[in-house]
Structures are given as C-alpha cells and as structure tokens.
C-alpha cells in the first residue's frame, strides 16, 4: 500500500489488523482516547432512550393498564411522564457528550494535520522527487480527509450502533432468555450473507474507481492535448474515446448498484424472520414462557437492534478507507527525522568557504546515484558541474546544502562537516538557488525578503541595485508590490529564478549553489540573469549545475559527472584539449551555436 519504504510501526509485509492501526493511532494521538470513552457513553445513553418505549409498553400491558379493570389514569400519566423525562434527559446528556466529543476529536485531527505536514516537510529530499509529490499530498490531505469523515460518521456509527444493538439485546434477555435467544440466532444468520455481499460490493466499487481513473486520465489528455486534437482535426476520435469511458463507467455503476440494492435489504428480511420466530416461540413456550407484555417488548426490541445493523452496513466502506488512510498517515508521522540536527554544533567562519567532498555515496531508495565521489574546491572558486541528466550532479548540489545526508562519506564546508553545523550557521554558510524558484502567493517584495527575514525594504532595494536588476523590477506591473499568484503564476521561469537570486544575495552565503535552468530563457531575462549571477558570485565559492556552454567556459573549475562518478576535473581549456568526455560534449554544444 505504501510506496515510500520506511521503518513502519507495523513491521514489514504482514497484514495489518484494524486493532494494530487503532493502537498505533492512539499512541500517536492520545487525544483520541477520551473520544472513545465519550462515544461509548453516548451509545449507552442513546440506547437507554430507545428502549424506553418498549419498556413503557411492557409496563402498560403487564400492569393490566390496558384492561378496563386495571386502568388508572394517574398511573398511566406517571408512566408517560417518567418515560418522557427519560427521553428528554437522555437527549440533553447526549447533546452534551457529543459536543465535547466533536471538540476533542477536531482538536486531535487538527494536531494530526500539523504533525503530518511537519513530517512531510522534514523528509529527505529523496522523498520530494516530483513523482512522489502526488503521493505526499494525498497522504497529507486525502488520507486525513478519509479519517476525518470516519470520525464524523463511521466511528460514531460503530460505537454508538454497536452499543445500542448490545443494550437492546441485553434488554431482550432480561425479559426472556428463550425468546431473546431465538431472536439473536435469527439475526446472527444474516452475518455471513452480509459479509459476502459486502465483499462483492467492494470488488465492484473498485471497478468503478478504476473506470473513473480511466475517464479522468483521458479527459486530462483531451485538455492537455487540446491543441493537438484541434490542429489535426481529431475531434470525433477524441469525443468517441471519452464517450466510451463515460459509458463503461456507467455500466460499472449499474453492476455495483445491483449488489447495493440487495445489501441494505438483508437486515429487513432477517428482521421479519426474527419477529416471526419470536411469535412462534412465544406460542410454543406456552405457560413456561414470558408474559404478553414482555413478548411485545421483545418484538419492539428486535426492531431496535435492526436499525443500527442497517446503518453499520453503510459505514463499512468508509471504515476500510479510513483505516487504510490512517495507517499511511501513522507511517508517515512516525518516520524518523531525515536530517537530524547537530548535537554539538561547531562554529564556522564568514566569507568564502572551501568545499571538501570525501568518498561520498548516496542512493535514493536503493537507487544508487553517487558512487564514492571525492572533490576538493578551494575557497572562492567558481565550479561548473556538467554531465547528462541523472549523472548525479544535482544530487551533489543537494548534499552540499544538506537537503539530504550522504549514505557514506562526508561533506565539509570550511573544514566543518555539514552535519556538525547548527541550522542557522548552515543557512548562512550555504545557499541554493533552485532551478525553478518556487514563489509564494504574496508580493515580490515579501518573496525576496524570505532570503533573510530581518532585511529592511532599503536593503532589498540595494540588493536589487547591486545585482543590476533595478530595470527588471521596474518592468513588473507594480514593481516590488506585484502580487504573485499561487505557485509563482504571473512570472516566467527565468523571472522566478531572478527572485531566488535576490533572495540568495540578501542571505550573503559563503557558498552559493546554483541550479541553472534547463530550458532557454527569453533573451532579456537571460541577459539580466547572467549579469546578476556574475555579481552574486563575487567573493564566494560557487557551484553551478551547468546547462549552458557559456557558464562552463567561464568557470574556474569544470567537474564532469557520468553515471554517479566524477570522470574529469580541470579548467575548461585543459579539458577541451585533453579530448575526453568534456571535449565531446563541448563540440556538440558549440555546433549548435557556431554559425
């Protein structure tokens, strides 16, 4: 079920029982414990309220109040008033207990949301690879959502309905154990049938889910490929494909519906069987049996047992989904912290820092990316790291800013192992300008200020001027006050990276890590970027994951990666003349430019 390998609190491989999940969940969220007690209390209260009426009947009949001789208006009214008081009192108490219940469980859920997101953010960046982000988002939203629905409905239903059914059954036994036994056995007979239908339902609902996924994926293609469909005049074929999906979804719905139509009828059928059995048993028992009042009370109690059973069949699906969601949530929340803070932090000096990568190996989930990589970069050097996609250059950049720790070997900045740096020192020592400068939905100015929280407006303006970006900022619709849409909407990829460059300038790190944009930027942005980076690189050690020929040409040192190894290091000129990998790469590059 889980795509993310980890140290699960449930151990490996084995099927996890509902109770194991419940126990682990309660350990994680002890606030849920009183919730269970409250649910039980509410269940008992509500069942008392429901059995009030059958009890009233039994008293009326067996007290001979229904005979002309035994009728007493006063006694009747007393009984009615007592029953009314019980019903109202029970409702008031259960309103109170449910209110506390809602507050407590919502507090617990809110805390769980926060804990889980914190954990998700703390995960090593290996888990944040793009293809896993969907999984993470679904764990932090969808799974908790399923759990929330369950707490709203399912959990309440389970505990309260089970309690009501049990209380009503006990009440039956109180009146007559023989009749109660007959009724209970008749009702228990439906359990295997219910289970079978439930399994069939789950299978069919799964088919519905798959067909929905097919429809969504084809719709997604029709939207993303809207231009292609129109450009090639393939409207009919596209519509036909979607209609096929819609129709097969429809038939899966009907197929699932066939089971559901029966599923909720079963308790009704067996309820009647139980009542008929009770009537027959009462007649056969004769004088040894219960009184007429008790028999009538039992008939009503059978109906009271039925309602919760019918409701339970409706929440089984929600329960399965909630438990699966809860399990995934717990697994995520109990994951050990990926980047433990330094226990005895060491100090680090200001200014440009030297970099030492010593026999480093690193794997993303068993997929080795770096093999025994060593690299020494003197302070103040401009390094360009080149190599094919997946050769390990971006991973090295990430290890340098401790977005992950190496599996073997050490990464040191200014002769201090990055694992021994305090968080604030590390952030001051090394800064990364990522390829796509992710922006938050707030003005450009505030996005820049994230580089250093206490930067004043004047400092921001100065930093922009120092990088030669005043003109670019002026070209934005509202300058620094330009609002940015969610995810950086409104700015191009290059412009987003410019914001990230200003952020880095504010932080003034000793080591700057740059992940160059892989796609071409428009010429104006490209020019602004080149100039700004040249200024930003002054007086620091820089490591650039390079995609541009010009960057490699101007670097002091070029490091060539292939398949997780460093295959060449040296200056641009040295490497071009040596005729190795870099020389070949360079030739291809140049041909694209040369006229």
């Amino acid at each position: 079920m889980s795509e993310i390998p980890n140290t699960s609190p449930f151990g490996e491989g084995s099927e996890v029982t509902a109770f194991a999940i419940l126990r682990a969940g309660l350990d994680l969220n002890p606030e849920f414990r009183p919730v269970i007690r409250l649910l039980l209390a509410t269940g008992v209260l509500l069942s008392l309220g429901r059995i009030a009426i059958p009890v009233l009947f039994q008293r009326l009949i067996d007290g001979d109040l229904l005979e002309a001789a035994g009728y007493s208006r006063a006694e009747l009214l007393t009984l009615a008033v007592i029953t009314t008081a019980v019903v109202i009192g029970v409702v008031l108490l259960s309103v109170l207990s449910q209110f506390v219940l809602i507050r407590t469980s919502e507090q617990a859920l809110a805390r769980l949301r926060k804990v889980v997101l914190r954990r998700a953010v703390d995960l090593s960046l290996a888990e944040h690879a793009t293809e896993r982000q969907g999984d993470l988002v679904s764990r932090t939203t969808g799974d908790i959502e399923a759990l929330t629905r369950f707490v709203d409905w399912g959990a309440y239903s389970w505990l309260v309905n089970t309690t009501i059914a049990l209380t009503a059954t006990l009440a039956m036994f109180f009146y007559s154990w023989q009749l109660a036994l007959v009724a209970t056995i008749s009702l228990v007979l439906m359990v295997p049938i219910l289970m079978k239908l439930q399994r069939a339902r789950q299978q069919r609902v799964a088919v519905v889910r798959n067909r929905t996924a097919d429809l969504l994926s084809d719709t997604n293609e029709a939207i993303a490929g809207g231009e292609v469909i129109r450009a090639f005049g393939q409207h009919e074929a596209a519509t036909r494909q979607l209609n096929t999906d819609v129709d097969s979804l429809y038939s899966s719905h009907l197929w699932a519906n066939r089971v559901m139509a029966w599923l909720f009828t079963i308790s009704d059928i067996f309820g009647t069987i139980a009542i008929a059995a009770v009537v027959l048993a009462a007649v056969w028992l004769g004088a040894d049996g219960p009184t007429l009042g008790a028999t009538v009370a039992i008939l009503f109690l059978v109906q009271i047992v039925l309602t919760p059973i019918a409701e339970l069949t409706e929440v089984i699906d929600d329960t399965t989904m909630a438990l699966a969601g809860w399990q995934r949530t717990i697994e995520l929340a109990t994951r050990p912290q990926a980047i433990p803070p330094a226990e005895l932090p060491l100090p680090i000096h200001d200014g440009p820092l030297e970099i030492d990568v010593d026999h480093v190996s690193f794997a993303y989930n068993d997929h080795a990316v770096l093999h025994d990589v060593s690299l020494h970069v003197p302070a103040g050097t401009a390094v360009a790291v080149v190599g094919a996609t997946g050769s390990g250059k971006t991973t090295l950049a990430r290890l340098l800013c401790r977005l992950a720790d190496p599996d073997e070997g050490t990464v040191a900045l200014g002769e201090v192992d990055v694992r021994r740096l305090s968080e604030s020192d590390r952030r001051h020592a090394v800064r990364m300008v990522p390829q796509d400068g992710f922006l938050f939905a707030m003005p450009v100015r505030e996005n820049i200020r994230m580089g250093r929280d206490d930067a004043t407006d004047a400092e921001i303006v100065t930093a922009i001027a120092d990088l030669g970006l005043t003109g670019w900022v002026g070209s934005l619709p509202q300058g620094l006050d330009t609002e940015i849409g969610p995810g950086g909407e409104g700015l191009s990829v290059g412009e987003r990276q410019l914001v990230a460059v200003v952020r880095a300038a504010l932080a003034d790190p000793g080591v700057l890590i740059l992940d160059e944009a892989t796609s071409s930027l428009d010429p104006a942005t490209e020019l602004a970027m080149t100039a700004a980076l040249d200024r930003l690189k002054q007086g620091r050690t820089t490591v650039t994951v390079a995609h541009r020929l010009s960057t490699a040409e101007r670097a002091d040192l070029v490091v060539v990666f292939a398949d997780g190894h460093i295959v060449e290091t040296g200056s641009h000129d040295e490497l071009v003349t040596s005729g190795g990998e870099y020389a070949q790469l360079h030739e291809a590059w140049s041909r694209g430019v040369a006229i």
């Binding site: 009426i53 809602i102 949301r113 944040h128 939207i223 393939q234 009537v279 008939l299 796609s519 041909r591």
Partner: protein, 592 residues
Amino acid sequence: MSEATSLDARPSGGSPIGDGLRLVSGYARANWRPFTIASVGSVVYAAGTVGSAFGLGWAVDEALVPHFEGADSRHWAAVAILVGIMVIRTVGVVARRYYAGMTAALCRTGLQRDLAERIVEMPLARLRSRAPGTMLANIDADTESAVDVMHPAPFTIGVLSMLVFAVTGLAAIDLPLMFATVGVLPLVVGASWFTAIILEKPTAVEREANAAVTAATTEIIAGTQVIKTLGREDAELERFAEIVEHHRASRVHVGALKMGIDTSFSMIPQLAMILIVVVGASRVASGILEPGDLVQAVALFGVLAFPIQVIGFFLTDLPISVVGRRRVDVVLVEPDDPLRAAPANPRKLPTGPLAAQLTDVRVGETDRSRVSGLSLPVVAGETLALVGPTGGGKSTALEVLARLRPVDAGGVTYGDIPAADISEADLRGRVTVAAQNAVLFTGTVRSNVDYGRNLTSADVDRALVLAGGADLDEILPDGFDTLVGERGVAVSGGQRQRIALARALAGDPGLVLLDDATSAVDPVREEEILANLAELPTTVVMVTHRVAAMAGADRVALVVDGRVVEVGDHQSLLANPEYRDLVAAYERGAVL
C-alpha cells in the same frame, strides 16, 4: 442527452430549494422510465412498511393475546402475513434502489458526455482559459454531486405516500389516535427543512476552509525544497497551523449545529409515541380499541421515524446538487469553435508544398498575444524561421497559420485560397503542427505518429526517421511499439518532441508549423533533423531560439511587437542591430 435544461438558462435568484426541485424534475423527465420504476418501487415499499406495522398488530391480537388468554392462537397465519408483507417490501426496496441508482447514473452520464463534447469542441482559447484541474473536477466530483439528489428523490416520493398510507391506516384504527399522530408529522418534516436551511452557510464556510487547507498543503509540499533552502519551515508551518485552526473552528461549528439539531429532532418520534400510548391506552381500557391496535399505531410510528428523515436528506442534498450542476453548466454553455464551421463554397487545396499568406492580421483581446497589422508571405517549399523577443507574436502568427486562432481582421490564404473557403478536413490533412510542449496520447509510438489517420506503417516509420527518431526503435523497450503512457510521460522530453515532430511530418503535409518543436532535442540530433526538413518537399515555418536553425533557414522573419519587422536570409538580417542582439543573446543562453 441535453434534455435537462441548464440552470443558467433560467432566471436565477430562486431559492436553493426551488432551483433544486426544478433540477430534479428536469432529471426525472429526461430519464422518466427508471425514475418511474424507482418511484413505484418506493411506493410499494411504503405500503409494505405500513403493512408490516399492521401485520405486527395483527400478530399480537390474533396470535399472542389469544394464546395468553388460552384461546386458539392463529400463529401460522400471523407468520404468513408477516413474511408476505416482507416479500412485498423487499421487492419495493430492491426496485427502488436499483432504479434510483440507474436514474442518477444516467443523468450523470448525460452530463459527462455533454462535458466531454464541450471540452473537445470549445475554441482553443476558451479551453486554455480554463484550469485543467477544475475541468477534471467538473467531469468527476461535480457531475456526481449534480445528480446526487436523484438517489433520495424517488424515496422521498415513497415516503410521502407512506405518510398518506399511515394516516389513512391510523384513521381506520381510531380517529383521535390519528389526530394525535398527524399533528406531529409536519413537525418532523419542518425540522428537516429547517436543518437544511440553517446548515447551508456554515457548511459553505467549512468547505472553503477545507479547500484552503488542501491548497496550503499542496503549496508547501511543492515548495519544500525552497522552504528548506530558505530555512522557512517554521514560518510556513505556523501559517499552515493558522489555516488548520480556522478549519477546525469551522468544523466544530458545523458539527455542533448539525449534531444539536439532529439529536434534538431525533426525540420527536419518541415523544409522539408516548403521546399515542397515553391517548391510546385510555381508549383500550374503555374497550374501544384492542391492545393490538395500539401496538400497530406505535409500530407505525417507529417504522416511519427513519424514512421521514429521508425527506431531510433530500432537502439537504438539493442545494448541493444545485451548486454541482451550476459548476458543470459553466462549461456546458461554451460555444462551438467557429473555426470549424463548414465553408459555403469549399475549394480544394493544391497538392505539393503549400504557400500561405497573412495580410494585415489583427488578433488578440488578451494583452499577451496582441498582434496587429502582421503581414507574412510564406513561399511554397521554403523553410521560414520566425524569431523575435518573447511576447512579440511569433507563436500567435503560427497559431493563426494553423487555424487554431481566429483573426479579428485581415486575411489568411493558403495557396491563394481564402481560409474561409477551405474545409476543416482538407486543411487538417495538409497543414500540421508540432509545439515545444509535445503532448502525446496513451498508446504506442506508432499510434501517436499515425494519430487516427490510417497511414501505412512504412509512412509512419519514415516520419519517425525524418524526425530524428530512428534510434527510438532500439532505445525504447518495445521499439516503435512501446507504450508512451498518459500524455507521453513514459518517454523523455526530447523523445516526446521527436515523436510529436514525426506526427507532424507524417502523411505528406504541404505546410508544417513548428513552434520551438526541437527545444529539448540535443544539438547533434537537431542538426540532423534540420537537414531532413530542408530536403522535404514541403513548406516549413518554425519558431526557434537556435542560431543554427536561423542560419540554415531559407528566410528569417523578425517579429517584434506584433509585426514582421524584416524578412530576409540570416546573413542579410545580421545588418539589423535588433536581430544581431537577439542572436548574441541566443548564443549566450545556448542550452545543452
């Protein structure tokens, strides 16, 4: 399938309940057969439910009471009656559930088919203006909630008839007993209605808060790397905590309201039963009624209590379905693409390389793609490169040539034939497009190149070779028959672009339009592709950022601020300082 009139077509401002009832009647009329069966099933169920209460009363009077009084007990008859009624009720329930589900599914299918057609048929500009995620929600969750109300709708009819049966039944037992009961029933229905109205606003607030939580989660996870490099974890999680707190408060509000109302109303039937017992007991004692009659009356009320709640569910579902339907309708009112209109006097495009001409073209209400007075002659058989700064109108000009974008003024001709006189099928067979963002469809490499045109496999393979994709046959696991995954995710960006380029080159097109279509292909292979294009007996117009492509083109058109500033070969254009700057910038930014 659009029998159910769209809500937007009606004067709005009705109450959510009124709009909802109109919606339900529209759905019911569109699929009247299953809806009628479901409703009849519902009425049968109602009759059976009322009947079972009578059966219970009969069993007490004719089997139990005689038995305890030592008289002859008719217990077998009682069992037969109980079981018989149960069978009737079961038939009703199953028919109701199955056909109500069918009604809802049919209504939803109709909406989904209409939506699918709109997504495919609406003009490209309209499609681009819509968020993909929202359209996916439209076809999934929104259509589901739009028809949700059709699940309880037939049941509601059944419940209403059940009330009539019950009241008639009670009247048959005893009139005073009936009046004691009837007084309570409107209270139960009114209570449900009241719940629906009171919960509407807080529920909307809660939904919004919930959406905010999801949005914040997605943003934080998508931005984790940046958040970490900036050391903003605590600040972001604090922001998230505030959003969660707001969400929590809204949930407690809704939860408490709903629970308070539900629980309080749940005692109404019980109190009513007590009332019936008090009224009834005196009448039994005075010999007017049998004990069994009283049992019947109370049992009736017991079985009514849950179904009556259904009216409440129905009323709560109404506004939800109205909202869902409104979201769907926003897409359903999208117009057809006027570019696809059939010409009055169609003229056939010539064979061979195709010439084209844009004359004084004006396009674009949106500021990003404004083009005015753009004139561009494309000579048959040439390779023409469009270059210029971002936002200058290169891609817009290409889209006009591809007839993907309507022009507001000016003329477009292909081989001297006005665009309006060329049929869609003719044009699409002769003019093809490949863009930087190469979208493939689920299927194999070959099926993507063929793309519904029934080309020979030799033609397909030849196009792949021309597009520099010959090596894909060896690299990809199943060669040209490799599945490319949804939108082509299973192959790399450069491979995707080459397959999309092959799609455009296949089928002997007369005019091929390329919008930066080889940006992710490496320089060596790009050279090879450009050489292939030069050999092809077809006209090529390409937007490009690569200097090599500009130099290799027959002509280059410099597009700035929505106009063609200069056309000529690369060498002669280098005299233009604007062009020279552009070339210098492209060289600097040359990307591996």
